[in-house]
Amino acid sequence: MDYFDRFAIPHPSPVIYASMVAIGITVLAIIAGLTYFKKWGYLWREWLTTVDHKRIGIMYLISALLMLFRGGVDAIMLRAQLSVPENKLLDAQHYNEIFSTHGVVMILFMAMPFIIALMNFVVPLQIGARDVAFPRLNALSFWLFFMGAMLFNISFVVGGSPDAGWTSYFPLAGNEFSESVGTNYYMIAIQIAGIGTLMTGINFMTTILRMRAPGMTLMKMPMFTWSSLITNLIIVFAFPVLTVTLAMGTMDRLFGTNFFTTDNGGMDMLWANLFWVWGHPEVYILILPAFGIYSEVISTFARRNLYGYKSMVASMVAISFLSFLVWAHHFFTMGQGALTNSIFSITTMAIAVPTGVKIFNWLLTLWKGKIVITTPMLYSLLFIPLFTLGGVTGVMLGMSAADYQYHNTMFLVAHFHMVIIPGVIFAMLAGLTYYWPKMFGFMLNERIGKWAAWLIAIGTLVAFMPMFFSGLDGQARRMYTYSESTGFGIYNMISFIGALVLAVGFVLIVYNIYYSTRYASRDISSDPWDARSLEWATHTPVPEYNFAILPQVNSTEALWDAKKKGHVLFKGEYEKIHMPNNSGVPFIMGCIFFAWGFSFVFGMWIPLILTTIGIFACMALRSFEKDHGRYISVEEIEETETKLRGAN
C-alpha cells in the first residue's frame, strides 16, 4: 500500500469531493481576507492570545454556532435519506458515518462549547469577579476543545469518518468491524477536547468557590452560577472516566490490547458500562446549565424573584449525585439480570423527582409574576411543556421491563431529542439572545427572534413526535432504510418536513444576527432587560477588568436591590487593578495537540513522539516562565469609566 493511501477516504462520493473543494476555498478566502484587510496582527493580539474570559466565551460561542451548522447539515441528510422507503440518497456506510458524526458533533462540539461559552462570559460577571481563577488555563481549555473539534471535523475528508455511533460500542468499534481510521479520530479528538473540558471544570469550580464578590455567600449566588458550580463538579468527577475509557479504546485499536475485544479475555460490555458512567452524568452536564439559564430568564421576565431558591439548589445537588447511579438504564436489554435492572430502574425514576421539583418552581415563579414575553422568555415558556414530553418518556424508558419494547427504537431517539432540544438548545438560544446585548452592545431583533423561536418549537414537535409512534411500531434506530410495507414512510416524511422547519428556524437566527448587526440601535443601556443580577451592573461593552470597584452583595438579587431598595453596590475608591498578561502559548500548544492527534490517528509514530516532546516542552517553559501580570493604573480606570459612562 502506498504511504499516502491511508489519507484517502474509504468511501468517496461526489458530495465529499465537493466538501473538500468547499473547505479549501473557505480556508483560502479566510487567509486572503485577513491579509487583504491586514487583520493578522489584530487576530493574534486580540483573540488568539487572549486570556480574557469574555473573549474566550465569544470564541466558544462562534465555534458552537459553526458546529451547530455542521451537525445540522448531517441531520438534514439523515432525515432526507429516511424520508421515503428504499431511498438511495445515502448508502449504509455513509449513513453510519453521518449519524455517528451528527451525535458527537452535536453533543460534544456544539452543546458543550455553547454551555461553556455562556459560563465563561457570565459566571465571572455574575459573581462580581475580574476573571476566572486561572485565565491562562482557560485559554488552553478553549484551544484544546477547538483543536479536538477541528481534528474530528477533518475526518470526513482525510481518512474517513467514525461510523460506530456516537456511543462507539465495542466490538463494532474494534479494528475488526471498523477498519478505517474513523474510530481513531473519535477516540483521540474527543480525548483532546475532553481534557480541555476537565480543565474548565477545575477552573470554574475554583473560581466560583473562591472569587465571589464580598458578601456573596454560597446561598446568595445567582441560580446560573449555582448550576455552573454543580455542572463543573460533575465534569471533574465524570470526565476522568471518559479519559481512561477513550485511552483504553485507543490502545485496543492501535496497540492491540484486550480491554474490549471478544477474545483473550476482553469484555465488550465494559465499554458500554464505562461509556455510560461518563455518558449519563454528561447529559446532566448539558441540562443543568440550561436549567440555570431558564431560572435567570424566568425570574427576570416574570419580574419577581425565583420561587423556591433552596429547593432549586437542593434538587441540583440531588441530581448531581443521582446522575452517577443510573448508567445501566442505557442497556437494560443486555442481560445483567432482573435485580440489577430493578435497582437501576428505581434510581432512574428517582432522578425525575428533583427534575420535577424544578419544573414546579418555575411554574410557581410564573404564577404570581408580571410576565413580559421577550424572545428569551418565549423560549423558556415553550421549554416547559416540550421538555415535559421528553422527561415523561424518559421515565417510560426507565422502566426496565417496558424498555425491552422501546430500546433502540425511534422512541428512544424521540426521547432524547425532546429533552435535548427543548431543554438544552432552547436554553442556549434564550441565553444567546439574553446576553447578546452584554456581549456585543446591541439587541437582537425581537420580531425575527420570536419567529425563529416559534419555527424551532414547531419544527421540533413535527420532527420528533412522529418518532414516538414509529418507534412503538417497531422502527429501529440507525437503520439506513426500510421497506414500503412497514408503513413507516408517512412518519418519516413528517419528520423530514419538521427537520426542514427547524432548519429554517436556525437560518432565521443567523439572518437575525446579520440584520441586527446592520440595523439595531447601538444606544442601549447597560441593563436593557431590567434584570436582577450583577452581570448587568457593569457597563456595556464590559471593560476588560469587568468592575472598576468590586461590588458588595447582601442578597441573591444584588442589582435588583440596588435599583429598588437603595442598596449601594459599589463603595470606595478606585485602586489599581491586577490583570493577567496575554499569552500565545495556549494557542501554540493547541496546534501541537492537533498535530499530535493527527499523528496518533494515523499511527505515525515519529511525528507522534516529536509532538509529545513539544507538548512537554511547552509545559516546562511555563514552569520556568516568570509572569506576574500587569497593573491597570487608577488614571487609566478613570479614563475608561468616564468614557463608558458617557456612552450610556
Binding site: 484486550n258 483473550n264 479475555g265 465494559l270 514552569s623
Partner: protein, 198 residues
C-alpha cells in the same frame, strides 16, 4: 500582589490560595481517573485467557523495595516542606533531592519489573488481565516520571530564585502531588499485588 504574612509562604497570596484549591480539585479528578482503572482491573483480573495470572508473575521482593522507596520519599518530601516552612532553603533542597532520587529508584525497579513481565509472557497484548495490569501500573509510573521532571524544575527554580511566595507555592503543590502518588501506590500494593499473590 498583596502578601499576607500571617500565613505560610505558600498560602500568602490570593493567587497562591487559588492554586492550592485548584490543585486539590485536580486531585479529585485524579482519584476518579485511578478509580476507573481500579474498577476495570477488578472487572478483568481473572480474565487471563490462558496467559499468566497475577499469582504467577508477581514477586514480592521488587514490589516491597518499590513500596519502601516510595513511602520513604513521601516522608522526605514532608520533611522538605517542613524545612521550607522554617525558611531553611538548603535543608529543603536536600530533602527534595533525596525525594527525587528515591523516586528515580522506584522507577528503576518498576522498569525492571515490566521487563521481567514481558519476558515471562505477560505483555500488553497477552490478555485482558495483562492489558489492564500494565496500564494501571504504567499510568502510575508515568505520573512518577512526570513528577521527577517537575520536581527537578522546582529545585532549579528554588535554587535560583530562593524561597518566594511563588516557588514555595509550587513546591507545596508538588508535595501534594507526590503524596497523592504514594496513596495510589498503597492501593496498588494492597489490591493488585497482595491480593493477587494470595
Amino acid at each position: 500582589m498583596k502578601i499576607d504574612n500571617s500565613l505560610p509562604l505558600e498560602y500568602s497570596t490570593e493567587e497562591n490560595r487559588l492554586k492550592v484549591l485548584g490543585f486539590w480539585i485536580f486531585l479529585g479528578a485524579e482519584i476518579m481517573l485511578f478509580a476507573t482503572l481500579f474498577a476495570t482491573y477488578f472487572t478483568l483480573f481473572d480474565r487471563t485467557a490462558g496467559g499468566p495470572t497475577g499469582a504467577e508473575i508477581f514477586e514480592i521482593t521488587p514490589v516491597l523495595i518499590e513500596t519502601i522507596l516510595l513511602l520513604t520519599s513521601s516522608f522526605t518530601i514532608g520533611l522538605g516542606i517542613h524545612a521550607m516552612r522554617l525558611g531553611n532553603k538548603k535543608a529543603m533542597l536536600s530533602f527534595f533531592a533525596i525525594t527525587l532520587l528515591l523516586g528515580a529508584g522506584f522507577l528503576g525497579f518498576e522498569i525492571f519489573e515490566f521487563v521481567t513481565y514481558v519476558h515471562e509472557g505477560a505483555g500488553l497484548q497477552t490478555s485482558a488481565f495483562t492489558s489492564i495490569l500494565l496500564t494501571t501500573l504504567g499510568t502510575h509510573g508515568a505520573h512518577v516520571t512526570l513528577g521527577l521532571f517537575w520536581g527537578l524544575f522546582i529545585i532549579l527554580q528554588v535554587k535560583k530564585r530562593g524561597l518566594t511566595p511563588e516557588t514555595a507555592n509550587k513546591s507545596f503543590i508538588f508535595s501534594l502531588y507526590w503524596h497523592f502518588l504514594d496513596v495510589v501506590w498503597i492501593f496498588i500494593f494492597s489490591f493488585i499485588y497482595l491480593k493477587g499473590m494470595m
